[in-house]
Symmetry: C2
Subunit: 345 residues, 2 copies
Amino acid sequence: MRITELFGIELPIIQAPMAGVQGSALAIAVSQAGGLGSLPCAMLAPEAIRAELLAIRAKTDRPFNINFFCHTSPPADAAREAAWRQALAPYHAEFGIDAASIPAGPGRQPFNSAIADLLQPFAPPVVSFHFGLPEAALLARVKGWGSKVMSTATTVDEARWLQAHGADAIIAQGLEAGGHRGHFLSDDLSLQSGSFALLPQIVAATALPVIAAGGIADAQGVAAALALGAAGVQVGTAYLCCIETGTSALHRAALLSPAAGHTALTNLFTGRPARGIVNRVLRELGPMSTQTPAFPLAGAAMAPLRVRAEAAGSSDFSPLWAGQNTSGCRAVPAATLTRELMPAR
Amino acid sequence: MRITELFGIELPIIQAPMAGVQGSALAIAVSQAGGLGSLPCAMLAPEAIRAELLAIRAKTDRPFNINFFCHTSPPADAAREAAWRQALAPYHAEFGIDAASIPAGPGRQPFNSAIADLLQPFAPPVVSFHFGLPEAALLARVKGWGSKVMSTATTVDEARWLQAHGADAIIAQGLEAGGHRGHFLSDDLSLQSGSFALLPQIVAATALPVIAAGGIADAQGVAAALALGAAGVQVGTAYLCCIETGTSALHRAALLSPAAGHTALTNLFTGRPARGIVNRVLRELGPMSTQTPAFPLAGAAMAPLRVRAEAAGSSDFSPLWAGQNTSGCRAVPAATLTRELMPAR
C-alpha cells in the first residue's frame, strides 16, 4: 500500500519533522501542497503543542503528522554531568560563562499520558515517533482515536520490532539522514546502513508500507526510493531552507556553503548521535564523545555556548543538522519543493 | 553516455573486481552474459596476471575489465610492525604460531611499469584502478594503447580529481559497498557518504559517466541507481556466491547467514578500511585499530591466524568481505545473476 492511501494524501511525500527549526507553518504548507506536513513536538511545551495544533486546524483540513520522541528520561548523573562540564570548561571560560549558573535542565520530554490527553481532542491523522514507540497502553490510546502511527527503523531488526508492536508504517532511516538517528534496540552504530542497503531489506522483511528517509533531495531521489520498494519518502534536509522554516541564518548559510559537504554523526549536542555539519566544536572535541551525559541531558551545558557564539555571528557551537545530501536546499516555498519532488510519471 | 556505449557492452552492469575470491572464470561468465566482467589483479603475481589474461582471451571476445590497486608502497616500519604483532600475540599463542617465523611480506604490489609492459600486448578494453590513478606517464601508457580507464571516488572531491586526471568513467563508491574503500585524497571516513547522497552529487559535479557501487543487489537496485543518474552499476557482493567464484565455503556460509546483517569497516586485515562481516577478531580488537602497519603490511601477521583458524573450520580470522546488502547472494551461474540484475524496461 502506498502511503497516499494509508494517510489519505495526494503525494507520497512526508516532510520530516525537524525540531528546533520549524513549526506549524511548514507543516501546513506541505499538507496544503498535497504531501504530509509534520509538526515536531520534541522541544515544545504542552501549551505550545496545543497552539500549533490549533494553528494547523485553522489553516488546513488536509492530513498532517505530529511527531514525538519516546526515549526514557535518564536519571540525573552528577558525575557524568561534572565530567561533561569539565570537557566544556575551556569554552565556558572563552565566552565568560559561569558554568555554575547553567541549570541541568531536563531537556526534551518524551511522549507521555499528559500529552496524550492534550492530543486526544485533535485526533491527529498521523502520529510519528522517534526512538521506538510509547509503551503499549499509551500507544493503544493513540491508535484508539484513529491516528495512523509510524516510527523509525535504522535496522531490519527494528523494522520487525515496529511491525510486531503496532506501527502502521515504518520509516527506514538510512545513514545519510540528517538529525537524530532513530535507533532504539541497540546503540551500536555499525549495525546501521545506507539507504540503498537498508530500504530494500526492510521492504523484504516486513509487510508494512516502508517510507524511505536519508539522502533524498529531488525527484530523482524519490524515483530511486520508489524503485527500491518504498511506499513513500520522508524528506528533511531539502526543506531546511524553505521560506516557511525557522532555520537560522547561520544554519542556512552553512547548508548552502561547501561546509555542507562534510557532515558527521555527533552526540555533543544532546547525548545521542545525530548528523550535522562539522563545525568547530565537532572538530575540536571529536564528533562522538564518551563524556556526554545521557540523552537529552548533554544539551544543557552546550546551550549557552551556542547562544553566545550565535550572538557573535558564529555557528561554531550550533547543531547544524543536515543529511549527507544538501543539494536540494533552496529558499523556495515548501509547496514548490513538495511538488518538484514528485518524479514525472 | 551510458557505459554500454563507452565500453561496448550490452548491459550497464559491471561485476566488481574482488581480489582473493575470484579470477578469470567469473569475469568471463559476466562478459559473455553481456555485462563487464572484471579480473582483480591486486593479489596476483605478474605470471598469474598473464595466465588469466590468456584465459580470458581464449574464452571470450567480449570486453572485460582488469583491476589494479595503485597505492604507494609504504616503507617498512619496524616499530609499528612490532606493535601490531604485540597486539596479535595472544592469538599467535592460541594457535601455536611462532611470530618470529612470519615474514613481513610486501603484500600487494601497486600497478607499475613492469605490469604495464605485461598488459600492453593484451590492450585490455577497460582498466580500473582503486586508490586513485597511477602517475601520469604510466596512465598515459594505458590510455595510449586504447584502454578505457575508470577509478573509484568516495567523495565529490575525489570524483572531480579523477575527471581532471584522465579517468573515462567514475565509480561512485557508497559507504554500503563491501571490500576496500577506494579513497585517496583523505583517509577521513567521515567525509564519505551512502550511495543515495554520493551518487547524485557526483553526477551533478562531473561530466563523466558515473557508475554506482554500494548496496546494489537486484534489478530494483539497478533501477534506483539509474534513476539517480548513474550511467551503469558495479555489483560485487551479489556475485560472491556465484558458482564461478572461489569464495571459500566459510565465507559463503557467512554471507548466507544472519551474521551478514552486521558488517563493519575494518583495517585489521590490510591496514586500510574495508567492509566485511563482523567476526571474532573484529569484535575483540575493534574493527578499526590504530596499531596496524600501513596498507598492505598489516596482512602479514594476520595471515597465519586465518590459515590455522580456517583449517579448523573457523572464519574467526578471515576477511569476510561483504557490502551492507547481501540479499542478492545466491549460488547461481554469474550469467543468470547478470541478466536478472537488469530492470524490466
